[in-house]
C-alpha cells in the first residue's frame, strides 16, 4: 500500500495521457490490485479544491503519510523567482513542491519538464522553468543537488516526452511492493532498468546503421542517423524493447529518435538546422556520434564501413 500524490506544474498533461494508456497494469488495476492509493491526481482524483488544499496541508504536517510524490511538468519559478506564473490552490506551485518533497518518502519526477526543465526551459525560458533536481545536464534544479527524500533517494527521474506508461507504473509498483532496492539509478537519477540500453537496441534499422545506408522520410529502410537527426545511438531508453501503445516506436515508423530521455531535449535548443537534420562538420561528418565512442574513432570506423561493399540482401525492403 502506498499513498501517491500527483501534481502538475508547467505541464502539458502528456505524461498523464500516456499514463492513462497503461495496459499491464491499467491505471484502474494499479489501484485495485497493486495497492496504489492515489490521494489525488489532476485527471483522476476524486477530491477537489479546498479538499486538495487540506490534503496537502495534512501531508505537510504529517497527519497523513506521503509515500510517493509524483511531479509532472516544469517547476515554474518566474517571474523573478516568485513562481507566480503558476498558481495552485492560491499559492505558487513551487512552494507546495518544496514542502511536499520534504515530507515524501520518495519523490518521482515524470517527463522531461519535471526531470530537467524540458521545452519550457529552452532559452529564453520565459517562465524561468527548471527540473526538480536537474537543469538540463546540471545537477541542482529546483530542489538542489543535496536533496534526498525520506526514503534516502534523490528525485527518481523518469524522463521522456512523454514517459512510457510502463516506466511510470513499474516504478510506482516497485515502491509500493517493497522492491525499491532493485531500482538502481544512473548519473541522471534514471532507473537503470529502463535507461541502460539505447533506443537503437531493437531498432529495425541497426543493419542499415552498420552498413551506413541512409534513410529518408517517406521511404522504407535506411538509417535516419546520418541525414535526419536520429538520436537512437545517443539515447538511453527502452522504446524498441517496450513498444509504445503496444504497437510501435518512433524509429519503427521511420521517425527519428528525438533523444527525449536524455537531459537537454530538445537538443541544440532548436537552433536553425538542428530540427530533423543531422548537424555536420565540413558538411559530412556528424557532430553527434554514438555514446561511448570517441569522435575520431567513430569517423575512422564509419568511413571504413561506408566504403566496404554493402550486403544487398540486408538492404531489401518490401511494402
Amino acid at each position: 500500500m502506498a499513498n501517491v500524490l500527483w501534481l502538475q506544474g508547467g505541464a502539458c498533461s502528456g505524461n498523464t495521457m500516456s499514463f492513462l494508456n497503461a495496459e499491464e497494469p491499467t491505471v484502474i488495476e494499479l489501484v485495485t490490485d497493486f495497492g496504489i492509493n492515489i490521494l489525488w491526481h489532476p485527471s483522476v482524483g476524486l477530491e477537489i479544491g479546498e479538499q486538495v488544499t487540506d490534503l496537502m496541508n495534512d501531508l505537510i504536517k504529517g497527519k497523513k503519510q506521503l509515500d510517493i510524490f509524483v511531479f509532472e511538468g516544469s517547476v515554474v519559478q518566474g517571474p523573478n523567482n516568485t513562481g507566480t506564473m503558476n498558481y495552485f490552490c492560491d499559492r505558487p506551485m513551487k512552494d507546495w513542491v518544496k514542502e511536499l518533497a520534504a515530507v515524501a518518502a520518495y519523490t518521482v519526477a515524470i517527463g522531461d519538464c519535471a526531470t530537467w526543465g524540458g521545452i519550457p526551459a529552452v532559452p529564453p525560458n520565459p517562465s524561468e522553468s527548471t527540473g526538480m533536481q536537474f537543469h538540463k545536464q546540471k545537477l541542482g534544479g529546483f530542489l538542489g543537488a543535496n536533496y534526498k527524500s525520506r526514503g534516502g533517494l534523490p528525485v527518481i527521474n523518469i524522463p521522456g516526452c512523454p514517459a512510457h506508461p510502463d516506466w511510470i507504473t513499474q516504478i510506482l509498483v516497485a515502491i509500493s511492493t517493497g522492491r525499491i532496492k532493485d531500482v538502481l539509478i544512473d548519473e541522471y537519477h534514471r532507473p537503470k532498468t529502463f535507461f541502460t540500453d539505447f533506443v537503437q537496441t531493437g531498432c529495425p534499422n541497426v543493419n542499415n546503421f552498420a552498413q551506413k545506408i541512409d534513410g529518408h522520410f517517406g521511404k522504407r529502410g535506411g538509417c535516419l542517423f546520418y541525414e535526419v537527426g536520429c538520436r537512437g545511438p545517443m539515447t538511453r531508453a527502452s522504446c524498441n524493447r517496450i513498444l509504445w501503445n503496444r504497437q510501435a516506436s518512433k524509429t519503427r515508423v521511420n521517425h527519428p529518435c528525438l533523444g527525449c530521455t536524455e537531459p537537454g531535449f530538445p537538443h541544440h535548443d532548436l537552433v536553425r538546422g538542428s530540427v530533423f537534420k543531422s548537424l555536420k562538420y565540413l558538411g559530412f561528418l556528424p557532430q553527434d556520434v554514438p555514446t561511448g565512442e570517441g569522435r575520431l574513432k567513430y569517423y575512422i570506423r564509419a568511413g571504413w564501413e561506408k566504403i566496404l561493399p554493402t550486403n544487398k540482401a540486408l538492404k531489401e525492403t518490401s511494402k
Binding site: P162, G218, S318
Partner: protein, 528 residues
C-alpha cells in the same frame, strides 16, 4: 458554510483555470475565467529553426498533440508552398481522426458523465441506472469506456510511432511509409473498438442504422425503436439528459466557429491558404445563430486588455507582437476590472464564438457544403429545436464517433502502398497558416519565417476561444457567458457550474471559486 462537497471525479486534464462565479438568489450573475499558468511557448520558438513547431507545439498540449502537429505541418506547407501526395493527406487525416475518436469515450466517461451521478439528480427516476453505469471507477461502463479509448491511438502509433507526442507529419508529407501489416492491424484495431464499445455499449445498433438519423424527431424515434437502442449508453444519456434538464442550461454565446479539418486526399496537393476551405471534408465556417458565413482566418483577432500581457491593440495573429508577460495575481487578489487571465480573448468578426464538436456538427449541416464534404442536417435541426446547451454540446460530440469510425476505415483502404508518402520541399521564407479541429475545437497556427528562422509564431487553441476572458469592449468569452444566468440549486455543491465548463471540454484544470454576490463570502472552491 459548506458542509459537504460531491463533485466527482474532478481535476480533468491540463493547465490551471480558476473561475470566479457570483451567485445571487441561486442564479449566477457574473462569471470570470482565469487561466493560471504561463509557459511562453510562442516566445521559445522565436528565432529558432522553422520546423521547431513540429516538435514544440504538440507539447503545448498532451491531449491534442496530434492536432497541433496537423496545424504545424500545414502552416509550413503553406509557407513553403509544398506538394502533398494523397497518401500523406490520408495519413494525416487518420492521425487527426484517431486522436479525436480516442477522446470521445475518454472524455464522456472520465470527465463528463460522472457528474450525472451527482446527488443533485438523486430524485430523478433514471438516477439509479445512470449511477450504476457512469459512476467514477465503479460504473459498469466506466472502465469499458476508458480502456476502449486507448485503442484508436494504437492506430495513431502504427503510423506515428507513439501517442501522445509524435512529430510524424512534416511539410511535404509524412515520415512513415507503412506496409501491408500496418494497414491490416489498423483495420483490426478499429474493428475491435467498434465491437467492444462503439456499437455494443454506446449505440446498441449498427453504425449504418445510427447514421440514418437526420432530425431530432428521427433521434427520438431511434431511442424508442427497440430495447437495445433505448438501453444503450447513448439511449440512456438522451433519456436521462432530458429528464435531468441538461438541455435547459449552459447556452453560451450562440455563435459557432469551426476551422474544419480532414483535407481531402486529392484536393489539397498544392496547399494554399485560399484553397483550404474547399478541400476540407469536415467544413469550416462561422454560424451567427441565423446564417452561415464562409471562414476567413483574417477575421480572427486577439484581445489582451484583460490578459496578463502588455497592452497592444486587438490584432490578427500575423500582426501580433510576441506577448510580454505582466505580473499576475491569484484568484482572491485579482481585480476583474483589469487584467485577470493568462489566456487571450480571440474574437471572430468581433464576436466571441464557441468552438468544439457542436460547432463542427452545426457546420456539417450547412446546406452549402459540397459533395465531398459531410452533409448532415441533424444538428441544424437540433440547434433550431433545442438550442445550444450542456445536452446538445455533449450530443454533438458523441455524434461524431460513428462517422469518424467510417472515415478512418475508408481512408485506410485508400492508402496506396506503391505511391509516395513525402515530397521533399524547398525551404523558403514567408507566412503560413495551418488549422484543424482538435477534439475540443478549432485550433490554428500562424507562422512567419524570415532569414531562415521563425520570426513570429502564434497559436490560438480551442480552449482560448472558449475560456478566454472579456475582450476590449467588455464582452465575455463563451464559458463566461454560458455560466451567467445558470441556476445553482445547492451553492455548496454547484455541479451545474462544473457541468457547463466540462461540456466545453475545457483543456484546463479548473478551479471554480463560488462567491456570494451580496456579501462576497467565499462559499467554496473546487476543482473542475
Amino acid at each position: 458554510m459548506v458542509k459537504e462537497l460531491n463533485i466527482s471525479p474532478v481535476g480533468r486534464v491540463e493547465g490551471d483555470l480558476d473561475v470566479k462565479v457570483y451567485i445571487e438568489n441561486g442564479v449566477v450573475t457574473r462569471a470570470h475565467t482565469q487561466a493560471a499558468m504561463f509557459r511562453g511557448f510562442e516566445k521559445i520558438m522565436q528565432g529558432k529553426d522553422p520546423q521547431s513547431g513540429l516538435i514544440v507545439t504538440p507539447r503545448i498540449c498532451g491531449i491534442c498533440g496530434g492536432s497541433h502537429l496537423y496545424c504545424a505541418s500545414s502552416a509550413l506547407d503553406t509557407a513553403w508552398k509544398t506538394q502533398l501526395p494523397p497518401n500523406a493527406l490520408l495519413l494525416r487525416a487518420i492521425g487527426q481522426a484517431t486522436e479525436t475518436i480516442q477522446s470521445i469515450p475518454r472524455w464522456f466517461y472520465a470527465i463528463f458523465a460522472t457528474d450525472m451521478a451527482n446527488k443533485k439528480f438523486a430524485n430523478k427516476p433514471l438516477y439509479q441506472e445512470v449511477a450504476k453505469r457512469f459512476a467514477a471507477y465503479v460504473g459498469t461502463s466506466f472502465q469499458t469506456g476508458v480502456v476502449a479509448s486507448g485503442r484508436p491511438v494504437e492506430v495513431y502509433a502504427l503510423f506515428g510511432g507513439q501517442w501522445p507526442h509524435s512529430s510524424y507529419m512534416i511539410p511535404g508529407g509524412v515520415m512513415c511509409a507503412p506496409t501491408l501489416k500496418d494497414i491490416t492491424r489498423a483495420h483490426a484495431i478499429m474493428n475491435q473498438f467498434r465491437n467492444d464499445w462503439l456499437e455494443k455499449v454506446w449505440l446498441g445498433c449498427s453504425i449504418e442504422r445510427y447514421l440514418q438519423i437526420k432530425s431530432w424527431d428521427d433521434m427520438m424515434a431511434w431511442v424508442e425503436e427497440n430495447e437495445s437502442q433505448r438501453n444503450s449508453d447513448l439511449g440512456l444519456f438522451i433519456r436521462a439528459g432530458l429528464q435531468f434538464g441538461l438541455d435547459k442550461f449552459g447556452q453560451g454565446v450562440g455563435k459557432f466557429l469551426a476551422y474544419g479539418t480532414y483535407l481531402h486526399k486529392d484536393k489539397y496537393n498544392r496547399p494554399t491558404i485560399e484553397g483550404r476551405n474547399d478541400a476540407l471534408i469536415s467544413s469550416s465556417g462561422f454560424f451567427d445563430g441565423k446564417n452561415y458565413h464562409v471562414f476567413d482566418h483574417k477575421q480572427v483577432m486577439e484581445h489582451v486588455k484583460h490578459s496578463w500581457y502588455a497592452d497592444v491593440p486587438a490584432s490578427h495573429p500575423w500582426n501580433e507582437p510576441m506577448p510580454t508577460p505582466l505580473p499576475s495575481q491569484n484568484l482572491i487578489e485579482t481585480n476583474f476590472d483589469g487584467k485577470y487571465s493568462w489566456s487571450k480573448a480571440p474574437r471572430y468578426m468581433g464576436y466571441a464564438a464557441e468552438t468544439g464538436p457542436l460547432a463542427r456538427v452545426v457546420m456539417n449541416a450547412n446546406p452549402a457544403n459540397k459533395s465531398h464534404q459531410i452533409q448532415d442536417p441533424l444538428f441544424g435541426d437540433i440547434i433550431q429545436k433545442l438550442g445550444p446547451s450542456v445536452f446538445t454540446r455533449v450530443l454533438g460530440r458523441m455524434h461524431e464517433a460513428p462517422r469518424l469510425y467510417e472515415f478512418i476505415n475508408q481512408w485506410l483502404t485508400q492508402i496506396d502502398l506503391d505511391a509516395e508518402f513525402y515530397i521533399k520541399p524547398k525551404e523558403i521564407d514567408g507566412q503560413g497558416f495551418g488549422a484543424t479541429e482538435a477534439a475540443r475545437g478549432a485550433l490554428a497556427h500562424w507562422i512567419e519565417i524570415e532569414d531562415g528562422v521563425i520570426k513570429n509564431y502564434q497559436v490560438i487553441a480551442p480552449t482560448t476561444w472558449n475560456v478566454g476572458p472579456n475582450d476590449e469592449q467588455g464582452n465575455p468569452g463563451p464559458i463566461e457567458s454560458a455560466l451567467t444566468g445558470i441556476e445553482i440549486e445547492d451553492p455548496h455543491d454547484p455541479v451545474e457550474v462544473g457541468m457547463v465548463a466540462r461540456s466545453f471540454d475545457s483543456c484546463l484544470v479548473c478551479t471554480v471559486h463560488a462567491h456570494d454576490g451580496k456579501n462576497g463570502d467565499k462559499l467554496k472552491s473546487f476543482k473542475l
